[in-house]
Symmetry: C2
Subunit: 515 residues, 2 copies
């Protein structure tokens, strides 16, 4: 009743406005066109759906990880077409329901498919705040709080790396962080390249392990260095770069007359979770005056654990570090920092373009907080804030506990794999990646010759298809460095319990035992 | 009472778990460590604060745009430090309040400071969904809905550009979109560069207007081309690239023996809102076989208006277009598409690295939806979805209305400026950027010599300082191309009404009349 009266009042008001209309170019300029009350109502209703269908179900293993349909089928289930006229709120809320229904629940306790998983409630609250405030983090003028927060978070991350000072910037992804680092190293090597470019320069060469993330190659191509000038260094059987091989390749590059400038070591490789021996690599970089970058996008979070930080021994000797709190620390996609040891404003000198419309020099506050010119982006999201909120909520001790627990669960999984028939580890893991084969009964008594591996190669994809269609869990598989398809189980979320690990192994067996 | 009982139950359960504890590496693996109920409660409480303090106040002009403090003061008002132990929920919710309180309300109807502003309720609902679902858009396997949505949105944007087919990718920013385009053009020009790099290549040269966005320069530097190889083309007095000057510069480059490959025209320049004459530029590009990119990050949205799309006449002849729906169309930061006319999979050929752990070739569905290899990023946000939701809610007609209304309000502002004493337009605007000087009474009778301009230069910064400290509104100023500091008013939000424009002019006068 009250609502109806309000509606009538609204209509009266609208009519009144139309009567006093000011028309410019045929547009009535009195009163806003957007109906704020209706808009607020929509957000409220959508938020309720999110709370019920996503957040409250995040800890419930009886829910499906995904209600999966192939692309053509899913298109018929969703009304995706964009039309001339808008839809009703009722229809829009139905879209919200459907989008959630048919999306993968990456926060489900049995989603093990990527290097992110789970739900962090504190980060999520912060993410809702930034979406609502819609800031862009380039000047203190428009993002005072978020710039201060970023400063604090970067400082703390730098402390955990073990540098006395440093600089950094949150940016959209580990891949982009690696690009930032490569370009920064190049600028340090030869500042002229910023203005003159690479034409006429000697061939610049960089080094990374054959187990590195593919973004190193992408970066070399994007930055105009060329993928052929990425020299891939051999790894040992655990996936760690062999320092002697690096030394050899650097010498080879020198002999060829090219210009070695950059080494990207990996702390936590994508597939195997291996850590390069940073201290030994740092020795080589020092000797040859090479920039040492550590891609710790995945492994950096181990720095927060007093027990596991030895995995990154020597990281304080790096010139730059990429570290994604959106992975193991669950800050939400995306939350990625590039950290730089230099504190002589190298980042700014390398990236600045001094746009006068943003970075006015006659501002009334300390413009050292206008960090936008350290970035390749113009508008930039407030990604540090969500991580700050989680850190505030859990404290360093709580973050450490998460890391320790994830690695303990990985250890438990390894022990279980060793106990069970039909499961075989690829290698003893260092981190949260557990790589293993499931060998169905039909292959168990076969000799491990060509036929065995050929057949085994087809096992994981079928089990994956079955689990996705069933919706019971999700974990990834891949072939890798000559090894046939195997599963890569990654444990992150504190919602994961021992029973989920048991379930995982039982489910693989149950889905694959007929193969 | 009920709550307390529940609490006791919880504690009982915890005790029970500890008794049956399975210890691995000193970590108890029974039961989750994260308290889901408490987490949900936090999100619920934070959401309430967001609704009350951000969303419901977004349409309220009596609220301050910002409660501004200088950095050192603000640090003392916020407890930013990251500690060993976590904080209570009460404290965390207080942080939420404080962060909102001291942040700039970019959705306030009187926030005119950047090329984004206002609140779109539908986009916001969608943004909450993606934050809660936390997807990464690289494979259909993990992002089925968001990949289909992206396909539909790109197709529709391509239709509005006027191409029959095409390709595209949402990415983090107009700056990054421009980089994508430049690299794509380079790849098209000489595919070998991807592998071999630029060393030994002739000097590649690109062209853009002197009014272009600074990201073109940043891109040239980042991609190893060098800022000196960006040839800046003169503009006419309205800020539009002069085609004859482009022709001259291309010929100059050829004469120098360098390799021209790329023209970046601008549709909607950042400061003046000028549109380059695309059709004439396209003629030149065709003649010289140059890739034509249009940076329509800001101006692209005019394509949705039947009345204003003539501003981009000729855009269908471009090879690529950058277009940010997070600007005029209010999709929320960030929402940026790079659109490419080529439909021979150039984007994928240029960017692919074929990571076997993500893009397995033996998947059970149509892997053409695994678009992650078209991107320089690995994890990628579902930015298309929020724009899709707004488009669904308003329809094309509603989006068109927004554009028309923003431009009509700009027109109204121009008329008012012409009427009022002490206000002077820099130029007749084409788009939503209205650039003007406020001349305080003390300068009004002065001859327009050096002293006048020198004094006028200091007016805008003082008014800006006063308005920010008062919190009444926010608009930007800058010096530009030899012109002393002037205001740039940008109108976007449908919440802005005629009265806000009147207020703006009155407020400037009131804040600056003593200068």
């Amino acid at each position: 009743m009250e609502e109806e009266e309000a509606k009538t009042d609204n209509q009266q008001e609208l009519l009144q406005r139309r009567k006093n209309a000011i028309l410019v170019d045929g547009v009535i300029l009195n009163g806003p066109v957007a109906d704020a009350k209706a808009g607020e109502k929509f957000v409220e209703e959508a938020s309720k759906i999110i709370m019920e269908e996503v957040i409250k179900k995040a800890a419930d293993v009886s829910e499906k990880v995904c209600e999966w349909h192939p692309p053509e089928k899913l298109k018929t289930l969703l009304d995706l077409e964009l039309k001339d006229l808008g839809e009703t709120h009722q229809k829009l809320l139905q879209f919200c329901q459907d989008v959630i229904k048919f999306s993968v629940k990456t926060n489900h306790p049995r989603f093990f498919n990527q290097l992110y998983a789970g739900i962090d409630y504190y980060s999520l609250g912060a993410r809702f705040i930034t979406e609502a405030l819609n800031p862009s983090v380039y000047t203190y003028e428009v993002s005072p709080v978020f710039l201060l927060v970023e400063e604090v978070v970067l400082k703390k991350m730098i402390e955990f790396i073990g540098w006395e000072e440093g600089d950094g910037i949150f940016n959209p992804g580990g891949s982009v962080s690696n690009m930032y680092a490569m370009n920064l190293a190049r600028y340090k090597y030869c500042p002229d390249i910023k203005e003159k470019g690479l034409s006429g320069m000697p061939r610049l060469v960089l080094f990374t392990s054959e187990e590195c993330h593919y973004s190193v190659k992408k970066a070399a191509s994007f930055l105009g260095l060329g993928t052929q000038n990425v020299y891939f260094i051999k790894c040992d059987e655990r996936g760690k770069m062999i320092p002697e091989e690096l030394e050899k390749q650097v010498q080879r590059a020198r002999k060829e007359g090219s210009a070695p400038f950059f080494v990207s070591a990996t702390a936590g490789t994508t597939v195997l979770g291996a850590f390069d021996p940073l201290d030994e690599i740092a020795d080589i970089c020092e000797r040859h005056d090479l920039w040492l970058h550590v891609d710790a996008s995945w492994g950096g979070s181990a720095l927060l654990s007093r027990k596991h930080r030895r995995l990154l021994h020597g990281i304080h000797r790096a010139n730059s570090v990429a570290w994604n709190p959106h992975k193991m620390l669950m800050a939400g996609i995306q939350c990625c920092a590039l950290l730089v040891k230099d504190s002589s404003d190298l980042l700014k000198r390398c990236y600045s373009a001094n746009a006068s419309y943003l970075f006015q020099q006659d501002k009334f506050y300390d413009i050292s907080y206008d960090t936008g010119d350290k970035s390749i982006q113009c508008s930039r999201r407030a990604d540090a804030f969500k991580f700050w909120m989680t850190w505030k909520a859990l404290g360093t001790v709580g973050l450490e506990e998460r890391v320790n627990r994830a690695l303990a669960l990985a250890r438990y999984l390894v022990d279980e794999i060793k106990k069970r028939e039909g499961f075989q580890l690829l290698l003893e893991p260092e981190y949260a990646n557990v790589c293993f084969w499931y060998i169905p009964p039909s292959l168990r008594n076969m000799g491990k010759g060509h036929e065995f591996w050929e057949k085994l190669h087809h096992v994981a994809p079928v089990i994956k298809e079955r689990m996705v269609k069933k919706g019971s869990m999700m974990l990834g598989y891949q072939p890798h460095q000559g090894k046939v398809n195997f599963f890569r189980q990654v444990i992150i979320s504190p919602q994961v319990i021992r029973e989920d690990i048991d379930f995982l192994l039982n489910e693989i067996d149950s889905l694959g035992k007929d193969l």
